[in-house]
């Protein structure tokens, strides 16, 4: 239970990280997140199976392509809607649906679309057999978090990210272009989304319906943790991961998703900013 709760928590964190980064910097709630996730998986599968490219190269190409698409979404659509939050949500949601339904109409249905496991087999952890792919996911999750920490704290672009995230107008006054930073945040968020897809999707098959589930899960994690808080996202991921396993073990597996979504509603009621969110904290105090 401890082991699988931890693994599930890491999977949630990976799924939500891209969404959180984008929102944290640009304040764009990217509802195309699920669409980009499946698109990344589908592109990797296509390059690997249909074009016969090596796995690593297929994954890199998918990450770059979807990263470019994320930037394009910002440059073509979102730049005109900056500040209109509802319009941003509707637009990105529409983009997500277009991506997913296009993939479906192009034939992405059925059970044959599957990315192979990186390493086959399983090992025992505290007496519990765990698939090696799941261990890889945990390692990748930790590595990605460390890389992101180093990026935002020790690179010029990362510091610009933090500047825009903290106060956009002040950042502008010191020569940081918020539009460029937001474009980059959407692009990087999309890339992280595909990285998570490449590691998580081999556990099952690639399905369009997963795109909608991924968006809901990312939203649940971000709302519980605090939309713009990376620490919050990590904490919320493990909370949901463990709640799910505990629910499945001691209550009923049919309530696993209900409990996760109910937690989101509960947090919205008692602390609308999320556990570590700050965006509405002052309003809440008032």
């Amino acid at each position: 239970m401890l082991v699988y709760g931890f693994i599930n928590g890491t999977i949630y964190a990976l799924i939500a990280l891209g969404f959180s980064i984008t929102f944290g910097v640009s304040r764009v709630a990217n509802f195309a997140h699920g669409g980009l996730y499946i698109l990344g998986g589908a592109l990797t599968w296509y390059s690997l199976v249909k074009l016969g490219l090596p796995y690593f190269l297929s994954a890199i190409l998918a990450v770059v392509a979807v990263g470019f698409l994320g930037a394009l979404i910002y440059r073509v659509l979102l730049i005109r809607l900056r500040g209109l939050e509802l319009s941003e949500v509707i637009t990105t949601f529409a983009v997500g649906i277009v991506i997913l339904e296009l993939l479906r109409s192009m034939g992405l249905m059925g059970y044959e679309y599957r990315l192979p496991l990186f390493v086959e087999g399983s090992v025992d952890i505290f007496g519990v057999p765990v698939g090696i792919q799941r261990i890889i996911i945990v390692v990748v999750g930790a590595a990605l978090l460390l890389a992101l920490y180093l990026f935002v704290h020790h690179t010029k672009v990362g510091l610009a990210f933090r500047g825009v995230a903290q106060e956009e107008h002040t950042a502008l006054s010191v020569g940081i272009n918020p539009d460029r930073v937001s474009l980059l945040s959407l692009s990087i968020g999309s890339m992280i989304c595909v990285i998570s897809a490449v590691f998580i999707l081999p556990l099952g098959t690639i399905s369009v319906d997963d795109g909608y589930d991924v968006l809901i899960k990312a939203l649940a994690v971000c709302i519980i943790g605090g939309l713009e808080s990376t620490i919050g996202v990590i904490a919320a991921s493990f909370i949901i991961g463990y709640i799910e396993v505990l629910t499945a073990t001691y209550i009923s597996s049919s309530y696993t998703m209900v409990v996760a979504l109910a937690s989101m509603l509960f947090i919205l009621l008692v602390k609308p900013s999320g556990l570590f969110g700050k965006s509405k904290e002052i309003e809440e105090r008032v």
């Binding site: 059970y111 599957r114 765990v130 698939g131 499945a248 696993t256």
Partner: protein, 420 residues
Amino acid sequence: MSTFFIRITVFVLAVFLLVPAMSNAASPAKGEPIIIGMPSSLKSLEASEALKAIKLAAEEINAKGGVKVGNAVRLLKVEEMETRDMEPGVPISDALLAIEKLFLEKKPHAVVLGPSRSEVLLAAMDLYAQYKMVSINVAMTPKFIEKYTQNPEKYKYCFRMGDARYVVGYLTKVMEKLKQDFGFTKVYIVVQDVLWSTAIGDGMKGWFEKNKWEVKGYDKYPTGASDFSSTMMKAKQSGAQVIVPIFDMHNSGILVQQWKEMKVPAIMAGFISPLMGSKAWTTFGDKIEGIINVVFQAGNIPLKKYEPSTKFYEAYKKRWGEQQSGHMPSEAYDSVYLLVQAIERAGSLDPDKLVKELEKTDFVGSIGRIKFKDHQFIFGDDPKTSAIAVAYQWKKGGRRVPVFPNSIAEERIDKPSSMK
């Protein structure tokens, strides 16, 4: 010269006008086509393959000259309508609107397959009654019979080729075989939390308890769940020898992967959609070796001991490529043939006459011999006398080997490697 040219022109025109007229005179006149409506969730794998099977049947019948309706011969035309009823969040009312749109715009003479989701079929029965639309459906809910028998006169236009109860019956026989061959008596049930699969799960649980099996656990997972480790751990700790999974969601492939990774010493025997088709071995590799899966109708898997199933399977493969779903294509294909036979016997497209003829159906199809009782097809163990399902086991090298019923079994059941 000009007179010669005019004569040649007149001759050519005469040839062009007369030849088609003569050829028409040689074959019976073709009237308006008979429209077969197919309202279903076309983006689901099962319905999309069923549509191909329906088109295949229509093409075969048309190639043989068409359907004899009284003195006229008419061709078949298939009109599909997307109901989206298998997609998450689509309300029943939306699916019903799509069905009604098909009736009003395409004016079908009969419907085959119908909606996939049980709740939608139950609601659509009133629509079929209202429009006097003859329909041969496949959705699996046991409540179809309940609703039909409450008012047979009203719902007489509805027929059905499928029922979750028959799947339960089949699975119980597979369990008896496992008990007989290996002495297994401890079971763990895990199902998808939707109407049809919980109906099977509940039915199985009741049967196990009545037949002195120990039910070590019964878990239900919501559609979209992607971690089944708690079930696998509980199954392992409880000493379950058989795991009965009932799933048609794509993530159920993860269940199988975790069963293998966690080395659960139990045989898995049930229904898992992603493992149904021949390509599952390519997708999942030897992780699925030893798993027993139930194909709801013969024909969706070729059977060496029942030729019509192989004939359909091969015809489908030649026309559309290998099918991947475990239910719908073969019964949809047979539906068209038995509908056409009923039309020819009735000599009319009148729905009331068609109903009477369909009730008399006795057809040797790809799923076995088809007869109706209370507008529900009769199911059994021998394709020569009734429709059958097929339990097969995945064996080394990616072979799908039929193991039950005995009338079509090709090999014995093997224990999976985790139990050896």
